[in-house]
Symmetry: C2
Subunit: 135 residues, 2 copies
């Protein structure tokens, strides 16, 4: 009986520890309240893409938060790192969801897919990583 109580306490302690930090891999419980899911998207455009093509893509991506409710925060910018470690990626879009369910709604969403159709003819390379972060 004492061992059971100790086991429960141990599991609670481990649970607290894994939910409180950054660098979370699994879906934290109650994630929308204390944690947020970051979605980092990098683009490199084809050499034939014109400034107008790229501006149309920037505007189309920036319009998604008004079309897809599960996007909780959004920002983007053009790379200006002096380190030369960008592998040719020029654009970073940074999208925030409350949950993995939000991301599951976003990825196949018709508005997102319409954006991908505008993007693809001009896309040379893309990189995506997502991670959980504390709010």
């Amino acid at each position: 009986m004492k061992q059971s109580i100790l086991l429960v306490l141990l599991v609670m302690l481990i649970g607290c520890g894994s939910g409180a930090g950054t660098g979370e891999t699994a879906t934290p419980e109650g994630n929308g309240e204390t944690m947020q899911l970051r979605h980092v998207v990098l683009f490199k455009f084809t050499e034939s893409s014109t400034p107008d093509d790229i501006q149309r893509i920037e505007e189309a991506f920036a319009a998604l938060p008004s079309q897809i409710e599960v996007i909780k925060d959004f920002e983007w910018g053009i790379n200006n790192s002096p380190e030369g470690l960008d592998k040719g990626f020029t654009h970073c879009f940074f999208v925030t969801f409350d949950s993995e369910e939000g991301r599951d709604i976003y990825l196949p969403h018709p508005a997102h897919q319409a954006f991908v159709d505008i993007l693809l003819p001009h896309l040379d390379d893309v990189l995506v990583v997502d991670y959980w972060a504390e709010k």
Copy 2:
């Protein structure tokens, strides 16, 4: 005289327009108040890196905000994107500065360089992009 006033107004309007958006390339004036400089760092570790090696690197990076004053915000996490577009990068560190001057202090800072010394033996690949975003 009227032309001078119109010119000043025009410059002010252009200034407001370029400073207010995201996707900023140059250093915005008064950047620390309305804009922030994001520094996105992705790591892929060598196959021989152990979980202990990687944890030591995570902890060393996470200790930098307490050692380097120009770091205004910091978060990190482990990639959990289902899209398969991560090019093998597993870790994302997201550092915020108020200005390019802040970044110029950070990059050669002794605490940052000491972290790089811990990192390098285990680093297979790295990618860095920086961008200006609205606060």
